[in-house]
């Protein structure tokens, strides 16, 4: 079940979309980068940590700012096209 619970601005959408894209990029890079390429590997590990934090910060910040509805078993989703936020329950 999916319920629309909010909307973000295009600028806010751009921020999370870029983080989403970066996280995906880092995850797929992690599949081919091995520790023997030490400098790049360290850079990747650091970036993964930083991007993950920024990602979570965005959701925390936005949910607080807009006061989105939440449920114990639910999670939020964003539609990048419409900037809409949905509450989705398994």
């Amino acid at each position: 079940m999916k319920e629309k619970v909010g909307q973000v601005t295009p600028e806010e959408r751009n921020e999370i979309q870029q983080l989403f894209e970066r996280r995906n990029g880092l995850n797929e890079l992690a599949k081919i980068l091995t520790p023997d390429n030490d400098a790049l590997y360290q850079k990747l590990v650091k970036d993964l940590g930083e991007t993950g934090t920024k990602f979570q910060n965005w959701w925390d910040r936005m949910s607080q700012q807009y006061n989105w509805k939440s449920t114990p078993n639910g999670h939020w989703e964003i539609n990048f096209d419409s900037c809409e936020i949905f509450l989705s329950e398994e």
Binding site: F20, N24, G25, L26, N27, E28, L29, I32, E77, D81
Partner: protein, 415 residues
Amino acid sequence: MSIVRETDTGWQSGMAKSITFIVTKDCQLACKYCYLVGKNVKERMSWETAKAFIDYVLSREDEFREESVVWDFIGGEPFLEIELIDKICDYLKLRMFELNHHWFNSYRFSFSTNGINYHTPDVQAFIKKNREHLSIGITIDGTEKKHDLNRVWKQAKADENGIIHPSERGSYKDVVRNIPLWLEQFPNAGTKVTISSADIPYITESVLHLYSLGIHQVNINVVFEDVWQEGDDLRFEEQLMTLADEIIEHGYYRDYACSFFSEHIGKPMDPERDNQNWCGAGKMLAVDAAGNLYPCTRFAQYSLRSKKALIIGNIRDGINYNLLRPFLTLDRTTQSPQKCLDCEVASGCAWCQGENYDAAQTSTIYERSTAICLMHKARVRANNYYWNKLFRKLELEGRREEYENNKRDVKPEIC
């Protein structure tokens, strides 16, 4: 408590640079309508060429400022070179990250494939590795009869110049077996259907067949080349009206889309306000096995019947930006004949810059080919019929508003 769902409709459309690797000019098939008249077994891209091209592009971030990039792979059949493609993509990811290139935050790998090798271990391993950044379109033309009319295997041997030629063996069965796997991996994927003169009688059954396979988005267009026979437009209109009836009667309009029907086509166009070019040639960049650069793959020699390749540079000397100026200043009115400017149903009438160039009287990209004129007008008539019928039905059922709120947005296909 958060996940992100990305909807895949027109990813970063208009903001992404499309960069194409012509990794091979070979293909398992020799489709009869294929515009690639010079496909051959000889021109395969080497790793050295691919790497040099990547290094050239990534080292010029100030020249390529688009927010996003689509790294596009075509052939021939790109998946014939899966080993090279895999190496290219790995290198791209590493280098974009290493250089802190802004495209690392926004890239896709895009493929148009005939689907024959889709299930093979190498292709599947590649998909698994790059899943979040892939856009893969498999071309299936409709029913077996329609598909096999044009999409046939090549003859076992190329001619003395390495050029491949069609056999009589259709490829439908070899493609359709991979459709379920493809849709499982890319549920929102669409297919591209091409219509030439001989295909017209099979349009309705083919679109419905593709829907029955689970393909929800059918992007379909008539070929731009001057292949049309007298009466084709009327036969085409009749097929589209039958298709319209089927889509409306069986309610396919709710969950399926066919790009032939669009609310945005068939209107007059303002010479000043609606003056943009249709085609993206010049904003794209393509490289071939020789390291030559093109404004679009359609300007490579293997795509051209009667003109010389339009090469805008190479991986050693870079791009000659003077050769891009005509592409980047091209507008609708300058290249169109008066009949197009006066046309009452002009909107949605497409053109291909490469075909315009190939068909022009002189060596120019500024002469619009109007070979599809009657076909577009036929499409508009059937399209008007479709929307009038659909909207009336929805009005009578009191569901017009519901439809408007939930309709799939079919954007015009711009190459």
